[in-house]
């Protein structure tokens, strides 16, 4: 079953969790004004459902474009993932990059450096 945590809009990504494949996906453009609030709602969903997020959970991010406010929101979400991984859960972060794109590779590097946690790059 796929749970839609947040449906996509023109300026915000879709956020969903596939319970069968155990993949949490953040996909789409993110140019939202209230980005921190937006990503905070995803963190709230994780907080409410953490007891059911058992086993290996992969968090996939595919954000072709995002503003810097979203970057801060995405980092908050990643920090929540790291927190859970640090406490023993097998949670991992995967960052999708198309065509060795500089913007997306730089972002992955910045996230990894800031988090002190692996951000696995998946080339598409």
């Amino acid at each position: 079953m796929i749970t839609i945590v947040s449906p996509p809009t023109k300026s915000s990504p879709s956020i969903s969790f596939d319970a069968e494949s155990k993949i949490f996906r953040v996909e789409g453009i993110s140019t939202i004004v209230n980005a921190v609030e937006f990503y905070d709602s995803a963190i709230s969903w994780i907080n409410q459902n953490e007891s059911t997020l058992t086993g290996e959970i992969d968090f996939h991010f595919h954000l072709p474009y995002f503003n810097s406010a979203s970057m801060k929101g995405i980092l908050m979400l990643m920090q929540r993932i790291k927190q859970s991984a640090d406490s023993g859960n097998s949670w991992s972060i995967h960052w999708n990059v198309e065509d060795d794109d500089e913007f997306l590779l730089d972002a992955a590097e910045s996230f990894e450096e800031t988090l002190g946690f692996p951000v696995q790059i998946k080339r598409m």
Binding site: T31, V36, S68, M71, D106
Partner: protein
Amino acid sequence: MIDNALRYYGKIDEGGIVDFVDLLSGVLYKNLGPRKDIRKMCSFAIELLDNGMRYSIDNRVSFTWTIEKDRLTFELENQASESDALRLQNHARELHGMDDAGRRQAFQDQINSDQLGARGGAGLGLLQILRKGALSIDIQIHRQADQTFVCVSRIQTPLQKTDKP
């Protein structure tokens, strides 16, 4: 010699920014061919337009891009309050005074800060533009008769030869 230019004047919102990015990425691809830095250049436009959207007091901006032989220029003009205009100009001056290490530290400090900007932004836009290789950010502010300010933000980025993806 100008290869390509576009000027827009009017209202801007977060959906409108997506429209600009779609158009700009298509134009860059058409004019420059496939490159690894097209999204990076578009991200500069996103940050400028995001600033305009947050700080324009009438929700309107004038936005121009110009592609010349060896450079891409973005210019954003919007009306702003005095405090926002002065803060923007001071912020740009402060960033220009930093070296790479200073900007790197400023990025880490700001992205880890609990504080948001005055209009809910992350305070990272101009910093990211400079960190990612823009040649310059020039901010001019002009006081109007009604005591509001016009902010003109100009970014230039080189169009160096790049490895194709």
